[in-house]
Amino acid sequence: MSSTIPILEARGLTRSFGAVRALDGADFDVHAGEVVALIGDNGAGKSTMVKALSGNLALDSGSILFDGSEVDLSSPSVASHMGIETVFQDLALAPHLTPPQNMYLGREIPAPGFLGKLGFLDNKTMRARSKVAFDELGATVRSYSSPVGSMSGGQRQAIAIARAVAWAKGVVFLDEPTAALGVVQTKNVLETIRRVRDKGVGVVFISHSMPHVIEVSDRVQVLRLGRRVATFQAKDTSVEELVGAMTGALDAGAK
């Protein structure tokens, strides 16, 4: 929490799917250099919130502020232009492409000079820079020339996170990044999250695992029935308190 103005703030977001109000006047905020966990029971509106804040979903009403000024996140490319990146649950890597190709997909470095104008690529530079980015996160990518589809879930997760982090200058959303991972890989991902935060990026961490939430985040915001019902300082809270807020058993927020 290095600054007083949140890097990304949502005010009164509303979105209905038919008769269901997935978001019902929900607020949210994350500062630069901070890990905010977004928790809530199934159907609380977490995924809808992430989609809205990453430009993947249109809102019925409400406003989104980036660095203090209101923005219109109409598409994922608008969001990524601002430095907002998302790692979705389904990873969204192209399984037949290599890690560097995935890393730079949509942002390729052209070859120098005339060849670049013809569409030729500077694979050497992209490979070298990808390696730097993976190393920086401690991601063990064993092969830079094999398709990512042949790699383990943990490695793909690391590549997806590295890609998001490499391009995210403002905020990175991680939707259930540890859901499919083993113990050791989970540890690596949590460590990665801390390193990204230390680079001054705002990290939004969505998870069902309360111990992980408490371990890695600075603040915890709880969604229930499409609203933010509570915000906790992670160091002052407990699993019981968080579960209580999620389920509504505990109606007093620490806000």
């Binding site: 192209a94 030729f120 094999s146």
Partner: protein, 390 residues
């Protein structure tokens, strides 16, 4: 399992375990620092001539090249005086040339996990319109011929764009769209000609391109044109951004879209390319046979698809090479030629191709199952040919 493979497997497991177990230090970790095993493995599997050779052997287009060479050797032994001669091979190469032009577009289309059944009909349609235009202009000179070439190419591109728009924008499955244009383009060609082939082709076209040779050699001009196109589009596919996006769209359309690849525009361009090649093939066919051969292309699309798939391009998308397609085209051509020369009924060629095709797809399935771990994006079936996500 052989004893040799066991230590290797253990080494792999160790390397992963050690690498993952290493305490996060906050420092950029070099591969060597993580574990000597991991570093060794990277070097082993990626660099060095041994690793490269092993990877080449695993590529389907290489395996199929061995099959082609085997077939070649068998016929060479059976008919040493007639089969392995330049004049015979020249014939085979000439016969393959037009299909190879079509194969370029089809390779791109199938890599995007699409299909284009319409190319045979688009070839006929483009040839018919070009023949009509050249007939109308009259004359046997280059002026008329060039007009015909341009008209044929434009017709092909228009059909391709039409296919692409329906597939990318209207979200109609590629199998259905191109089945429709397969029928539609052929029907229109018959309407325009009344079903009667046009047999007037400018002499310069027929004698220079159609059955002519490169001056001073016995190399067919049509094959050189085909080879140049193969080289250009091979380089585009394997070395440029356009090629990379083709693989990306076929591998995971949604992920390509999310990172800002203009997927719809790319698909339209891919089908336009396939149409362009069909238009090109239309004028080449006209030049070679001096007739529009309206009824002669009913199985062309399937022959090209079979060749592309035999050559290792995956119907599931994301995988494929132009080189594989070339090899895949020569197998049926050599078989047919060899059967004729050795006195086997040439109809057996069709049986053999059917078998090779099924085996090729079976191998592709097995390889995919082994190579990709079961994930949402990895698990795919061919139903994508029948439906498109909205």
């Amino acid at each position: 399992m052989s004893n040799d493979s066991m230590p290797a497997k253990n080494a792999t497991a160790n390397a992963v375990g050690v690498a993952a177990d290493a305490p996060p230090t906050g420092e950029p970790r070099s591969e060597a620092a993580v574990s000597p095993d991991a570093a060794l493995m990277t070097v082993d599997s990626e660099r060095g001539i041994g690793g490269l050779a092993r990877r080449i052997v695993k590529v389907q287009s290489f395996q199929i090249l061995l099959v082609l060479l085997a077939i070649f050797v068998v016929f060479s032994v059976l008919a040493p005086d007639t089969f392995p001669t330049w004049s015979n091979m020249r014939l085979v190469i000439q016969n393959v040339s037009i299909l190879a032009v079509l194969g370029i577009g089809m390779t791109y289309v199938i890599i995007t996990s699409g299909i284009d059944l319409s190319i045979g009909s688009v070839l006929v349609f483009s040839g018919v319109i070009a023949a009509k235009v050249m007939q109308g202009m009259g004359g046997d000179g280059w002026g008329t011929a060039i007009a015909g070439i341009l008209v044929s190419i434009v017709c092909g591109v228009l059909w391709g764009v039409f296919n692409g728009l329906l597939i990318a924008k209207a979200k109609v499955p590629p199998l259905i769209v191109t089945l429709g244009t397969l029928s539609g383009a052929l029907g229109l060609a018959q309407v325009i000609t009344g079903g009667v082939d046009i047999r007037e082709v400018p002499a310069v076209l027929a004698s220079n391109i159609g059955y002519g040779n490169i001056p001073g050699t016995t190399i067919p001009t049509i094959s050189v044109i085909s080879l140049v196109l193969l080289l250009i589009f091979g380089v585009v596919l394997h070395k440029t951004k356009f090629g990379l996006y083709t693989y990306a769209v076929g591998s995971n359309e949604e992920s390509a879209r999310r990172v800002g690849v203009k997927v719809d525009r790319h698909l339209i361009m891919i089908y336009a390319l396939s149409g362009l090649m069909a238009g090109m093939a239309g004028i080449l066919s006209l030049a070679q046979y001096s007739t529009t051969a309206i009824a002669g292309q009913s199985t062309t699309s399937l022959a090209v698809i079979a060749a592309v798939v035999i050559g290792g391009t995956s119907l599931f998308g994301g995988v494929g090479t132009i080189f594989g397609t070339i090899v895949g085209l020569f197998i049926p051509a050599i078989l047919q030629n060899g059967f004729v020369i050795t006195g086997v009924q040439p109809f057996w060629q069709q049986v053999a191709i059917g078998a090779v095709l099924i085996v090729a797809v079976y191998i592709d399935q097995r390889r995919r199952a082994a190579a990709s771990r079961a994930t949402k994006t990895g698990k795919r079936s061919l139903t994508h040919l029948f439906r498109r996500s909205a």
